[in-house]
């Protein structure tokens, strides 16, 4: 097994190198055969990495403990789905998973772009860039952090998975996040191809927009699922801790968000060409950085960084990629002139520019706060902790500004907004938000942060609902469809626009959930003998002792609780036989659309129905809105990505006297 996997990895490394040379040489000497041979080699890389990955999966499935990786990350007691999830639970395996998904995405790109067309000229460079990344990963996997290291004397059983990772979230969150980080490589490769060929128009954007959207949604969901996992498993009552690992995963997503907005400036107005290339480059750099940090957790200390085996390799690779990309960029900079000018500060254009400033500002603030402990240690040899208060204070106001802009930007016309236009578009949403804030005040919401946050959400909600209503009504009157049908076909026909609004709605849900749970979380702790109760919010929790069950490989203790006299709630602690010192938590959760009752069994004395339990109890308002936002985020993005319908006869109905873009 070990030898087979290792051969596949080393073979993939060799083929990737060949693909780079062959593709670039093919362009140089104008040989179609060489270019094609490079593409075939890329297919070969996909096949070999797939074979290596299947080898590891099979080794896990048959409990082949002669592989160190299998021994370290799985055990016989684990259920099969967890055994397979162990594939991406360790450093080497997750790097292999990363390389594997990249090879699959590369194959999809090759397949989608196989037909002749103008994109042809980009493909050799795209292949070369993808294979450079793949060569680096297989270099690591083959020679530095190999998942196929053999143990001389195979043990009888494995160590098993880290207890924190025994959760449904584990099966979906890490692969989503790693794939999300990986997928920025694809749009990046098109940007490099555009620079290399000098074809810096909209072609590369048109090709990479979809890939960027896919990367965006995968990484976005990866982050939401990460929050969900943390909420269910870590047991501190929250879902986002501004941990370095979380921060590095959100940064490329923020820069990517700036990119998918900013490219519209280029598509519509021929502006920001150079900037868009910079954005996608930064998103890619950050996702490589993120992969590395997520996989090694180096940010605790500079020394850990130096000690990490893969650290120096990642650093070298990242530096080379940055220098190379920027060199290419500055070489082409003279060709990246804007075709248009800004007509007015009150326009869609300037709102996109502010959008970019805010997203990059947030990303930079997070980046700076995340690496600052390293900086302080390196230059002053002092230990500095940068915890959640910093991120909340710095990123909070910027996120609020972002929310405001999310309401304003989409309603701004291109080029220039008139006073009538502003009045026409903003009267209702602003009025609605003011009314909403007044109502909130009447009902006793006096926290200024909550008022501001909910007020902004209501304003943006108003703008979105107004857009849907106006669009549907206009279509209803123009075509005679009934309003519901009109709404449907509106979304279907203008999927980019209305799908985008749905994504904005998803962000609103997440924002409202974050504001609600930040400001109105209730928390208490209590130690209760059987029959004793504690009240928090609308809940009275009564203890009934504990129940301990021995399952295969794990001992589970349930706290037996009743909520408000009737409902049962059973928070759990699990003690895995291989990790007795590291109990894992299963939160007792009672979710309603408006709030979650969240109970953690922290400790207990005695056993059975007479045991006394210590509980940490939280009431978290609106947290389910965050998860609903995640679902809507996916839905909205899918609608945006849905292939546009064939051009209809309606085109002909436009009178030629209407100047295109005069108001659109």
């Amino acid at each position: 097994m070990a030898a087979l996997g290792q051969i596949c990895i080393v073979g993939a490394f060799g083929l990737a190198l060949y693909a780079i040379v062959s593709s670039l040489a093919g362009v140089r000497v104008r040989s179609r055969e060489l270019i094609l041979s490079g593409q075939n080699a890329a297919w070969g890389v996909t096949a070999l990495i797939t074979a290596a990955s299947l080898t590891l999966l099979i080794a896990l499935a048959v409990h082949d403990f002669s592989l160190r990786y299998v021994w370290e990350h799985s055990s016989r007691a684990m259920s099969m789905d967890l055994v397979l999830a162990a594939f991406y639970s360790g450093q080497q395996g997750s790097l292999l998973y990363w390389a594997w998904t990249l090879s699959i995405f590369s194959a999809i790109v090759l397949w989608q772009q196989r037909k002749p067309g103008p994109h042809r000229v980009f493909m050799p460079y795209v292949v070369a860039v993808l294979m450079v990344v793949e060569a680096f990963m297989t270099l690591l996997l083959g020679f530095v952090a190999t998942p196929f290291e053999a143990l001389p004397r195979p043990p009888q059983d494995g160590v098993g998975l880290n207890p924190l990772l025994y959760d449904a979230g584990m099966r979906i969150h890490p692969p989503m996040l790693l794939a999300g980080l990986m997928s920025w490589t694809i749009p990046f490769s098109f940007a490099i191809a555009a620079l290399a060929t000098g074809k810096l128009g909209n072609e590369w954007l048109a090709l990479s927009r979809r890939y960027a959207m896919v990367a965006w949604v995968i990484l976005g969901l990866g982050n939401v699922l990460g929050a969900w996992w943390a909420y269910h498993v870590l047991g501190w009552g929250g879902y986002w801790g501004w941990d370095p690992v979380e921060n590095v995963a959100i940064m490329p997503w923020l820069v990517g968000t700036a990119f998918i907005h900013s490219i519209q400036m280029q598509e519509r107005r021929g502006m920001l060409k150079a900037w868009n290339i910079v954005l996608i480059m930064v998103a890619f750099f950050l996702s490589i950085f993120g992969t590395f940090v997520v996989r090694s957790g180096i940010l605790a200390s500079v020394h850990a960084f130096a000690l990490s085996e893969i650290g120096p390799y990642f650093l070298t690779f990242l530096s080379l990629v940055i220098v190379g990309s920027l060199g290419l960029f500055f070489w082409r900079l003279p060709r990246l002139r804007a075709e248009n000018q800004i007509d007015s500060l009150l326009s869609r254009e300037s709102s996109f520019l502010i959008n970019n400033l805010l997203f990059l500002g947030i990303a930079f603030a997070i980046f700076w706060g995340t690496i600052y402990p390293l900086v302080a240690e390196a230059i002053a040899d002092q230990k500095v902790s940068v915890g959640p208060p910093y991120f909340k204070q710095v990123a909070g106001p910027l996120l609020g500004a972002m929310l405001l802009l999310m309401g304003i930007g989409p309603l701004m016309p291109w080029r220039r907004a008139s006073r009538e236009h502003l009045l026409h578009n903003f009267l209702v949403p602003v009025g609605g938000a003011v009314l909403g804030i007044a109502l909130l005040l009447v009902f006793g919401v006096i926290d200024p942060f909550a008022l501001l946050g909910f007020g902004l959400c209501l304003f943006v909600l108003g703008t979105i609902l107004q857009e849907f209503t106006r669009g549907a009504l206009a279509r209803h009157r123009a075509t005679g469809e009934n309003v519901v049908l009109a709404l449907g076909s509106l979304v279907r026909r203008n999927n980019r626009r209305y799908g985008g609004y749905l994504v904005h709605l998803a962000i609103l849900l997440i924002g409202a959930g974050a504001v609600g749970s930040q400001v109105y979380q209730l928390q208490t702790q209590a130690t209760l003998a059987p029959g004793q109760s504690v009240s928090l919010g609308a809940y009275t929790i009564t203890a009934q002792g504990v129940q301990t069950t021995q399952l295969s490989g794990v001992k589970v203790t349930d706290g037996l609780l009743t909520v408000n006299g009737t409902d049962e709630l059973r928070p759990e602690k699990q003690f895995f036989d291989n990790f007795p010192q590291q109990p894992s938590t299963k939160v007792g959760l009672r979710s309603t659309p408006f709030e979650d009752l969240y109970v953690v069994l922290s400790d207990w004395t005695g056993d059975g129905p007479t045991a006394q339990v210590s509980l940490a109890i939280f009431v978290n308002p609106l947290v389910s809105w965050i998860w609903a936002g995640g679902v809507l985020l996916l839905l909205g993005t899918l609608i945006t990505l849905w292939p546009a319908p064939a051009p209809s006869r309606q085109r002909a109905m436009i009178p030629s006297s209407i100047g295109v873009g005069a108001r659109a």
């Binding site: 501190w236 801790g241 941990d243 107005r269 502006m271 248009n340 000018q341 800004i342 007509d343 500060l345 520019l353 400033l357 500002g361 930079f364 700076w368 706060g369 600052y372 302080a376 230059i379 002092q382 230990k383 500095v384 902790s385 915890g387 959640p388 910093y390 710095v394 609605g432 009314l435 909403g436 909130l440 009902f443 006793g444 909910f454 909600l461 106006r470 669009g471 206009a474 279509r475 009157r477 123009a478 026909r493 203008n494 980019r496 609600g516 209730l522 928390q523 208490t524 702790q525 209590a526 928090l536 919010g537 408006f594 709030e595 308002p621 209809s648 309606q650 085109r651 436009i654 873009g661």
Partner: protein
């Protein structure tokens, strides 16, 4: 709109009904949330399951019972562990840099943006945009809306 705000209000209605079990527990948590657990990664003393964090919570409890203020307790922890114990980096010394960085970044970004806007913003005649625009469905619907809204 209004339904949505009512929904929000319903959710909020529970908030003022908070009955806290123990004011001392709240005090311990309030202080512990501001302290970084020295032996964990990215966990506060309030949330960490480690033994050291539990000891520190007990110390906080004793000090609160003795009538010390939150700030006094934090200062004592800083005296023995250094500034690194605080989750919120202080706004002086080396930690000041972490606060200043984003401000400088934003200021730089805003300056570049202003300069760019000034350079780009020249009154150009209102000619139809030419670059790569075709009549897409969304333009057609936009046109219908335009006609509807302005009655032309």
């Amino acid at each position: 709109m209004r339904i949505a705000s009512l929904v929000l209000l319903l959710a909020m209605a529970f908030a003022p009904m908070a009955v806290h079990a123990d004011a001392l527990d709240d005090g311990v948590r309030r202080v512990a949330l501001q302290l970084q657990c020295p032996v964990c990664e990215g966990e506060t003393v309030a949330d960490s399951p480690s033994g050291l964090a539990a000891d520190m919570r007990a110390v906080i409890r004793t000090k609160l019972q003795a009538g010390e203020s939150d700030q006094q307790i934090l200062d004592e922890f800083v005296a023995s562990y250094g500034d690194g114990i605080l989750t919120e980096p202080p706004k002086h010394g080396i930690s000041l840099g972490v606060w200043v960085g984003p401000l400088i970044g934003l200021a730089l970004g805003a300056t570049v943006l202003t300069l760019l806007l000034r350079a780009w913003r020249r009154p150009a005649p209102l000619t139809p945009v030419s670059s790569g625009l075709t009549l897409e469905t969304d333009v057609v619907d936009e046109f219908h809306r335009f006609r509807e809204e302005y009655g032309r």
